[in-house]
Symmetry: C2
Subunit: 407 residues, 2 copies
């Protein structure tokens, strides 16, 4: 291992916050404080890339490790996130000049950026540009997205907590409906425009006997007539029906159901709203069943009330490792998680790969997890998902409220 | 204390399940097992009153106390609930005859019924009818409703867990929005048709620095123009605005906002959907701000993922006390909770009053808790609400999932 370049560290957050993005921040900062002979200062970008562009940096020396520990309890992006799109430097160099100026001014040599596929593209471009202008910079990406759609990574930090919320919320909805002899058709809309990982997570509720009856993901063509037949059959038999559906389900032409203006009930009325709302209105009109539509919305993404402690631990770890790898001279790389199933035990091995392999790419739910009727998830998915949430809940609340970190 | 009549016990659940209704069931059963010389059998009504009408009873001898303990983790109504309306026996005696026949057949002398104001009316009528026909029966009501709207009761079992969920969900929404420099207008719809107790609970999030900007409850007239002015002022200043609103807010004529067909934006378009959705659409059209509407829906009512352990303890206790009081010969009564603030410490004293004082009556949020602009809740409410959620979270999950009781 060559001698690490002496310089400062900057950490940034990007995209929609998961419930554990701040745990990765904690991992980076805690690890960085172990190398005072290399790193003099640790900064956070205030509102991600915007902070770097506007020289708006947070000096993390102002926070004790005890205070920072609360990051692991804190939803949102504690240092601020952003959705700024960086043009390629061949098209517009202005932003890159600003970024390099900020990095130089604060003697920053290590850049850790926490985000999903778009954000990885951002660091890839910054890393390339720094090389081009001869500024020695080590950029490492920290994977984060509840969508779990990054290739070459067993699962992303944030996914486990999201499905833990989803599975338990589905249990609550199931049990509430089964409180009555005659229940309703309940339709739960789960995030995921293109990938069904989150919606598949609803299958976990099967393990305490409260499974959905039907599960629809974007990877399988959604046929409205088959759906109506499925619901009809189940409801007539059980007087209960629980449907979990990805927001991004599409018809055979690839059109999103939630965007279809020609999605009409048998009376010719167009139904609007999110996909759960549209489908429930169609069922009401078609069969006269009582329905209830749910959008789990950001409560699944920001879930800090029932997080997976495994997720928190792994998120801290990817932050630590990203920092270490940057100090070891790695650049333009993203940290990966590989599953090691030796002895049937769940073990994660951390590694890293070129960011370009991940940036702007998506990983879909394998079709082997989807049943042949395209209306359910196979049990083999449980082997994948259960170890991610199989923890002792160790959440710390203070006086019943999330004990959060504040800037 | 006179000698208790030897006979069996029946317990029933009614109305929308709270997250702790099953904890009260546990309290009743656990306590009843202590009196084998008086009580031979403990039954539960299967689907509440319907079970009693159809002789559909659950024999609780089939469950160990260890198994029953899981009731305290279980959302929904584990023995089945119902919304059956019993006519007055002066109008229609048929149902009453069936009920008395079932009670006689199973030698039931103690009837514990767990519900809100409607359900209390049901037991009141059964108790009166039993007296009329000379069947010795001891009926005690166990208060339950997240709405917290029963008179003469400091708070109802279920309320604390609901506001614990609400306050923490509001924190998540606040922090997610504040992850960006420029946020949205977030409107959170909270349950409560006539009473603002639940929505007022959102104020608790103030204690970790993530308070709503505006809070509207049904007890205060909702003026749409004032609302638009409020939102405009706050968003222009902060670029964030978080609004918590009861589903049952009404205009100056007492019309529900969610029912108003003449609630139009400035372009004359009628907005449909729940109240949060309607208001957010109007703000979008009026000011062009980005908005997000949330319905916490049954996740607040069924909340078993972040329950208040104080709520669970109290719910068990009201079940225990209801059973004891019935054995002591109390009839046509409901258990009450009184707050004892000696030494500034939160203490609850359990007592009981005539059911007729509670049945079909509602308790509203005192106006002293509402600010003079009718758009916020005063801090004095925190003294009332905080002790209800101020606990150590002690939730038991098994492998990351709610470890539930099943029939």
């Amino acid at each position: 291992m060559k001698q690490a370049l002496i310089g400062n560290v900057i950490y940034g957050q990007s995209g929609g916050p998961t419930s554990v993005i701040n745990s990765s921040a904690y991992g980076v900062i805690k690890e960085a404080r172990k190398y005072p002979s290399i790193i003099n200062k640790i900064y956070a970008m205030h509102f991600g890339l915007e902070g770097l562009l506007n020289e708006d940096l947070i000096d993390l020396d102002n926070y004790s490790l005890e205070e920072l520990k609360k990051l692991t309890n804190t939803p949102g992006a504690a240092f601020g996130s952003n959705r700024y799109k960086l043009a390629h430097y061949s098209k517009d160099e202005a932003d890159y000049i600003k970024i390099i100026n900020t990095l130089k001014k604060f003697n920053i040599r290590y850049l850790l950026y926490n985000g999903g596929n778009d954000s990885m593209d951002t660091i890839h471009k910054i890393s390339e540009y720094a090389k081009k202008v001869g500024y020695e910079l080590y950029c490492v990406g920290i994977p984060k997205t509840i969508d779990n759609d990054l290739p070459f990574i067993d699962h992303t930090a944030g996914y486990a907590s999201a499905i833990k919320f989803i599975a338990n919320a589905v249990s609550e909805i199931y049990l509430d409906d089964h409180s009555y002899k005659v229940g309703r058709v309940n339709i739960v809309e789960i995030m995921g425009r293109n990938a069904g990982w989150l919606t598949a997570g609803s299958l976990l509720s099967k393990l305490n006997g409260t499974a959905p009856d039907l599960i629809y993901v974007p990877e399988a063509v959604f046929n409205i007539q088959n759906f109506l037949n499925d619901v009809h059959k189940i409801y007539e038999k059980n007087k209960h029906c629980l449907v979990c559906v990805s927001e991004g389900i599409k018809d055979e032409n690839g059109n999103f159901i939630f965007e279809m203006s020609d999605l009409k009930d048998k009376f010719g009325h167009t139904q609007l709203g999110g996909v759960a709302n549209r489908l429930s209105k169609i069922i009401e009109k078609e069969f006269g069943y009582k329905t209830r539509a749910f959008e789990l919305s950001l409560l699944q993404r920001a879930n800090s009330i029932v997080p997976s402690s495994i997720d928190i631990k792994e998120a801290i770890k990817v932050g630590e490792i990203a920092l270490k790898k940057a100090l070891q001279g790695e650049n333009d790389k993203i940290i990966t998680l590989k599953r090691n199933k030796a002895n049937g035990k769940y073990r994660i091995k951390y590694d890293l790969i070129d960011i370009s392999l991940v940036a702007n790419k998506e990983k879909y739910l394998p079709l082997t997890y989807i049943n042949s009727n395209l209306n359910y998830i196979n049990d083999s998915f449980l082997d994948y998902a259960l170890p991610l949430i199989k923890d002792k809940d160790n959440k710390l609340f203070k006086d019943g409220l999330l004990d959060i970190f504040k800037l």
